[in-house]
C-alpha cells in the first residue's frame, strides 16, 4: 500500500488500560442495574418495577451490556474469549456500547416522557444510565483498529467514524466439520430467536429498543469479524446452511401461541417473496419496474375470481393448484404484453410504462364494477369472502394440532407462503448462476457490449421481466386466500401499507440488489417498522425517505452487499486500481461511438 498511514490517536486521550477498565466497569454497572427497578409503576409497559427480574426493555439493555462486556474482555486477551474478535477488537466495543447507551437512553427518555417527568425514574435507571455513559465515553479512549489513511489531521467526526472501522479477519483456525455444522445450527437458532423476538414485540417502546440493540449488535458482530467467519462457514456447507435457514423459518409458527403475530409473519413472507421476485428484474437484469405490485394484483385477482366466492363474476371454483397455474399464466401474459413493446427500447421507457401499467391496473379493476364497465371485479369493493384453502380435507382456515403444538389458521398459510418463497429463492439462485443469469448481469452492466457478445438483449430482458411477473403472480394467488378479500387499493404505487411498488423497490435497494437475503431483510424491516410503530403513522413516509437518503449516503450497496460488491470492498489480495470512470453507478454508462 502506497498511501501514508498516520498513527491515529483515540478520540479521547485516556490511557488505553484505564479506558478498557472503565468500559468494562460501566457495562457491568448497567448490567447489574437491569436487575433493579427502573420505575415505580407498572404503567410503563413491560413492568420495569421488579427487583431481581429484568423485564421488557431491561432485557434488551442486559443483552447490550453483556455484549459490551464480552467484547471488552476479549480485548484483554482473555483465553476462551479471543474468538469473539477475529477482526476488529475495539470497534465492536464502541458499537456495542453505543447500542447500549442508545437503548438505555431511550428507555430513560420513554419512561420520563410517558409517565410525565424524570421523577418517575427509580435509582436503578440512573445507575444504568450512568454505567452506559461511562462505558461509551471510556470506549472512545480505546485505540483505533485501523489508522486513518487519507488525512493527517482528521476532524473529530472523521476520527470518530474511523474508530468504528475494523480490518477483515485473518485466516481462521481449522475446525472439525461437526463443529462448523454445529455453529451453523446455533447461528440459525439464534437468528430465529432474534427474528421471533422482533415479530413478537408487544408494544412500540420494546420494538424501538429492539431495533436499536439489534442494529448496533449486528454491526458490532460484523466489525468483530464474526459475520465474515460465519459466512465463510455457510459458503462451505451451502446446502446445510440453506436447509438450516428454512428449518428455522418453518419452526417459527411453533413458537407462537396466538395467531396475531403469525399473520404479521405471513405478510412479511408475502412482501419478501414479491421483493425477491422484483430483485430478479431490478437487481439482476437492471430493469427498473415501478409497477411491480400490479403483477401481484393480477395473480391475486385471478385466484380470487376462480376461488368460488359468491362475489366472483364467474362462479367457478378451481382447485388451488389450478388457480396458482392460472394466476401465474395470466401474470406471465401481462408481463409479456407490457414487456414486449417496451423492452425493445433503452433507458427509462420501461420505468414510465410500468409506472403507468401499475396505475392502469388499479384503476381498471376499480372500474370493472358493472357501472363504469363490465361487472368483473366489483370495482372498489373488491372480491370478498374468498374461501380458505382446503387440501384433501386439510382446512387452512382452522387450527390444527401438530406434534402436540396447537397451530392457528395462519400457520397453514405461513407454511404455504414459505413454500412459495423457497420456490422463488430457488428460481433466483439457479437462474442467477447460469448462462441466462450472466446474460442478465451483462445486459445490466453494458447493453451494447452484451449484444456484441451475442446476447439477444430483447429476448433475455423479456425473459427476466416475464419471470418476475410470473413469480409475483404466484405470490398473489396465495395472498388472495390469506387476506380473503382483494380490493384495488391493495395495489397502489406508494402507500403506508406494504407491499406497494415503492416499498418493494425500497426493500430491494435497502436490502441489497442482486442478493437473496437482502430483499428478505429489507422487506422484514419495511413491514415491521410501520406495523409496530403505528404512532408514527403521520411521519412514517418522512422517516422512510430520510432513512433511504442516509442509506444511499453511507451504504449505497444496501444492507447486504452482494458477492460482486463484496469483492470490491474486501481486501482479497487484488490489485487495487480504483478506476474513477468505472466507480460509482454501474449501469447506464453507455457512451456514444461504441
Amino acid at each position: 500500500m502506497t498511501t501514508k498511514t498516520h498513527q491515529t490517536t483515540p478520540v479521547l486521550a485516556i490511557p488505553a488500560t484505564v479506558a478498557r477498565a472503565a468500559t468494562a466497569a460501566g457495562a457491568a454497572l448497567t448490567l447489574g442495574s437491569t436487575f433493579l427497578a427502573w420505575t415505580w409503576t407498572a404503567k410503563f409497559p413491560g413492568d420495569l418495577t421488579v427487583t431481581g427480574y429484568p423485564g421488557g426493555l431491561q432485557v434488551l439493555t442486559l443483552v447490550g451490556a453483556a455484549l459490551t462486556l464480552l467484547f471488552t474482555l476479549s480485548g484483554y486477551g482473555i483465553k476462551g474469549l479471543r474468538w469473539l474478535t477475529p477482526g476488529g477488537t475495539n470497534s465492536p466495543v464502541r458499537l456495542a456500547a453505543l447500542g447500549l447507551l442508545g437503548t438505555m437512553g431511550f428507555t430513560v427518555g420513554a419512561i420520563s416522557v410517558e409517565l410525565g417527568g424524570v421523577v418517575n425514574l427509580e435509582p436503578g435507571a440512573w445507575i444504568g444510565l450512568v454505567g452506559a455513559i461511562i462505558a461509551f465515553v471510556a470506549s472512545l479512549g480505546l485505540p483505533h483498529d485501523q489508522d486513518i489513511t487519507d488525512t493527517a489531521t482528521p476532524s473529530p467526526l472523521e476520527k470518530f467514524l474511523n474508530s468504528l472501522r475494523a480490518p477483515a479477519p485473518g485466516r481462521p483456525k481449522e475446525l472439525p466439520s461437526w463443529a462448523e455444522i454445529l455453529i451453523i445450527v446455533a447461528a440459525f437458532g439464534i437468528g430465529l430467536f432474534v427474528v421471533t423476538y422482533g415479530i413478537d414485540t408487544a408494544y412500540p417502546e420494546l420494538f424501538v429498543g429492539y431495533l436499536l440493540i439489534t442494529g448496533f449488535a449486528v454491526t458490532a458482530l460484523f466489525k468483530a469479524g464474526l459475520m465474515a467467519r460465519l459466512s465463510a462457514i455457510t459458503t462451505k456447507y451451502r446446502s446445510i446452511a440453506v436447509a438450516a435457514a428454512f428449518v428455522a423459518a418453518a419452526v417459527f409458527p411453533f413458537t407462537q401461541s396466538t395467531d396475531q403475530y403469525t399473520l404479521i409473519a405471513v405478510n412479511i413472507l408475502i412482501f419478501a417473496t414479491v421483493a425477491l421476485g422484483l430483485n430478479i428484474v431490478v437487481g439482476l437484469a437492471g430493469l427498473l419496474d415501478l409497477g411491480y405490485v400490479a403483477f401481484l394484483g393480477v395473480g391475486a385477482y385471478t385466484a380470487a375470481l376462480v376461488s368460488g366466492t359468491s362475489a366472483s363474476a364467474f362462479g367457478v371454483q378451481f382447485p388451488f393448484w389450478a388457480s396458482v397455474l392460472l394466476g401465474a399464466a395470466v401474470s406471465l401474459i401481462f408481463g409479456v404484453v407490457i414487456g414486449a413493446p417496451t423492452l425493445r427500447l433503452r433507458g427509462d421507457y420501461l420505468a414510465i410504462v410500468t409506472l403507468g401499467f401499475g396505475e392502469i391496473f388499479r384503476i381498471a379493476v376499480g372500474n370493472l364494477d358493472g357501472v363504469s364497465g363490465p361487472r368483473v371485479t366489483n370495482g372498489p369493493n373488491g372480491v370478498p369472502n374468498i374461501p380458505d384453502l382446503n387440501f384433501f380435507g386439510y382446512d387452512f382456515g382452522e387450527s390444527h394440532t401438530i406434534l402436540g403444538f396447537e397451530l392457528g389458521a395462519y400457520a397453514n398459510y405461513y407454511m404455504l407462503m414459505l413454500l412459495a418463497m423457497i420456490l422463488v429463492v430457488l428460481v433466483f439462485s439457479r437462474a442467477g448462476s447460469s448462462r441466462i443469469g450472466r446474460a442478465w448481469v451483462a445486459i445490466r452492466e453494458d447493453e451494447t457490449a452484451a449484444t456484441a457478445m451475442g446476447i439477444n438483449g430483447f429476448r433475455v430482458k423479456l425473459i427476466a421481466f416475464a419471470l418476475g411477473a410470473t413469480l409475483a403472480g404466484i405470490a398473489g394467488t396465495v395472498q388472495a386466500h390469506v387476506q380473503s378479500t382483494v380490493v384495488p387499493e391493495m395495489y397502489v404505487f406508494a402507500g403506508p401499507v406494504p407491499p406497494n411498488s415503492a416499498f418493494l423497490l425500497a426493500a430491494v435497494i435497502l436490502g441489497g440488489m442482486g442478493t437473496i437475503s437482502g430483499p428478505l431483510i429489507g422487506a422484514a424491516l419495511l413491514y415491521m417498522i410501520p406495523a409496530k410503530l403505528q404512532f408514527l403513522s403521520d411521519y412514517q413516509l418522512l422517516g422512510f425517505g430520510l432513512a433511504l437518503i442516509l442509506l444511499m449516503r453511507f451504504r449505497p450497496e444496501g444492507l447486504i452487499a452482494n458477492r460482486r460488491a463484496k469483492l470490491e470492498y474486501h481486501e482479497t489480495g487484488q490489485l487495487d486500481v480504483p478506476d474513477e470512470t468505472l466507480a460509482g453507478t454501474t449501469s447506464g454508462t453507455t457512451k456514444a461511438g461504441a
Binding site: 430457488l426 428460481v427 439457479r430 437462474a431 447460469s434 448462462r435 441466462i436 443469469g437 450472466r438 446474460a439 448481469v441 451483462a442 452492466e445 453494458d446 451494447t448 457490449a449 452484451a450 449484444t451 456484441a452 457478445m453 451475442g454 446476447i455 439477444n456 438483449g457 425473459i463 419471470l467 460482486r564 460488491a565 469483492l567 470490491e568 482479497t572 487484488q574 490489485l575 487495487d576 486500481v577 478506476d579 468505472l582 466507480a583 454501474t586 457512451k591 461511438g593 461504441a594
Partner: protein, 295 residues
C-alpha cells in the same frame, strides 16, 4: 519488415466481404462506399487519421449500426444488421474504449462471451439436469483455457474493474475469442499500452491468427500495424484511399498527406513536406513519431 508480403494464396476463402458500405449520420457521411475483404488466415490492418470513420466502419460490420448502403458478407452469407446475430455468425469484436462488464469477475466476462456457443435456457437452468451441468463445466473449461492463453488465469476471480489497463484490453480479446469467431475485429488493441505490452499484444495476435482466426485490426501505431499485417487499408474521411501490402501503403504519398495534410500547389513549405515524405518511406519509426505529433 518490408520483406513481409501477402503470404495468403489467391485461392484462400474470403471470410469477410464488405461491399459499398456507406454510413450517413444526417448530413455527415462517416463511411463512404468502402469495399474490404478479409481472407482466411489473414491479418488486415485499418488505418486512418482521427475521425476517418474506422470505428464507424466496424460498427457497420458488427450490426451496431445499420449501414445506409452496402452489404456485408461473412463466408458468403449476407449478415443481418443485428449485433447478436453477427456474433452468432462468427464475427467477434473488441471496443476502442474498453467495454468490459466491470462488476463481473474476469471468468464471468469470458463466460458471457460463450453465450452464442451454448444453448442452456431458463428451464434447463432451473431444472439443473445433467446436460446443464455438463455444458456449464465445458464452458468453464473453455473459459479457463482462454484465460491461460492471455495469461490471466490467476486473476479469474477478480472483478474486471480491478484489472490494470493492459489486462483489461487482453480480457476483452479473450471475451471476444470465447465466441469461437472466424473473424476477430480489434479496435485499437494497444491504445494506452507501453512498448512491452504492445509487443506482447503483437505476439498474441499472431497466435490468434495461427489458431485459424482472421483478424481485422484498427491501430494508430504504424510500426505495430506494418509489422503485423498482411494487408493494410487506409481510410480517410470515410473513403478507402489505399489498400495494399504494408510496403505499398507506407510508400503511398496520399497516406502521408492524409496524416499530415495536403500542401497547396507551389506552397513554400512543399519542399519540407517532400523531405518528410522521403524520410517516412524509409523509416517506420519516424512515421510513428510523426503520426504521434498529428494527434
Amino acid at each position: 519488415m518490408n520483406t513481409m508480403t501477402t503470404t495468403t494464396p489467391e485461392t484462400a476463402t474470403t471470410v469477410l466481404d464488405a461491399s459499398g458500405v456507406t454510413m450517413r449520420f444526417g448530413g455527415l457521411t462517416a463511411v463512404r462506399n468502402v469495399d474490404l475483404t478479409v481472407k482466411a488466415g489473414e491479418i488486415v490492418g485499418l488505418i486512418g487519421p482521427n475521425g476517418a470513420g474506422k470505428t464507424t466502419f466496424f460498427n457497420c460490420l458488427t450490426g451496431l449500426y445499420v449501414p445506409t448502403e452496402g452489404k456485408v458478407r461473412y463466408k458468403g452469407t449476407v449478415l443481418p444488421p443485428k449485433p447478436h446475430l453477427v456474433t452468432q455468425a462468427g464475427i467477434a469484436r473488441t471496443f476502442q474504449n474498453i467495454r468490459l462488464f466491470a462488476n463481473m469477475t474476469v471468468l464471468e466476462n469470458v463466460l458471457v462471451g460463450r453465450h452464442t456457443r451454448t444453448k442452456e435456457g431458463l428451464w434447463s437452468a432451473l431444472l439443473r439436469g445433467p446436460g446443464f451441468k455438463k455444458a456449464e463445466a465445458a464452458s468453464h473449461e473453455r473459459a479457463m483455457e482462454l484465460l491461460e492463453f492471455i495469461g490471466l488465469q490467476d486473476k479469474a476471480d477478480h472483478l474486471a474493474r480491478n484489472l490494470p489497463y493492459g489486462d483489461q484490453r487482453k480480457l476483452e480479446i479473450a471475451r471476444a475469442l470465447a465466441s469461437d469467431p472466424g473473424l476477430l475485429l480489434l479496435d485499437e488493441p494497444t491504445a494506452g499500452m507501453n512498448p512491452q505490452e504492445t509487443r506482447v499484444t503483437e505476439e498474441l495476435i499472431f497466435a490468434i491468427r495461427d489458431m485459424g482466426i482472421a483478424v481485422l485490426v484498427i491501430e494508430h501505431d504504424m510500426r505495430f500495424i506494418f509489422n503485423l499485417c498482411d494487408r493494410v487499408a487506409c481510410l480517410v474521411q470515410g473513403e478507402k484511399l489505399v489498400e495494399g501490402t504494408p510496403g505499398e501503403v507506407q510508400a503511398d504519398e496520399r497516406v502521408v498527406a492524409a496524416y499530415l495534410g495536403t500542401p497547396f500547389e507551389g506552397d513554400p513549405g512543399a519542399d519540407e513536406v517532400a523531405e518528410v515524405e522521403a524520410a517516412e518511406a524509409q523509416s517506420a519509426t519516424r512515421t510513428t513519431r510523426t503520426e504521434g505529433e498529428t494527434q
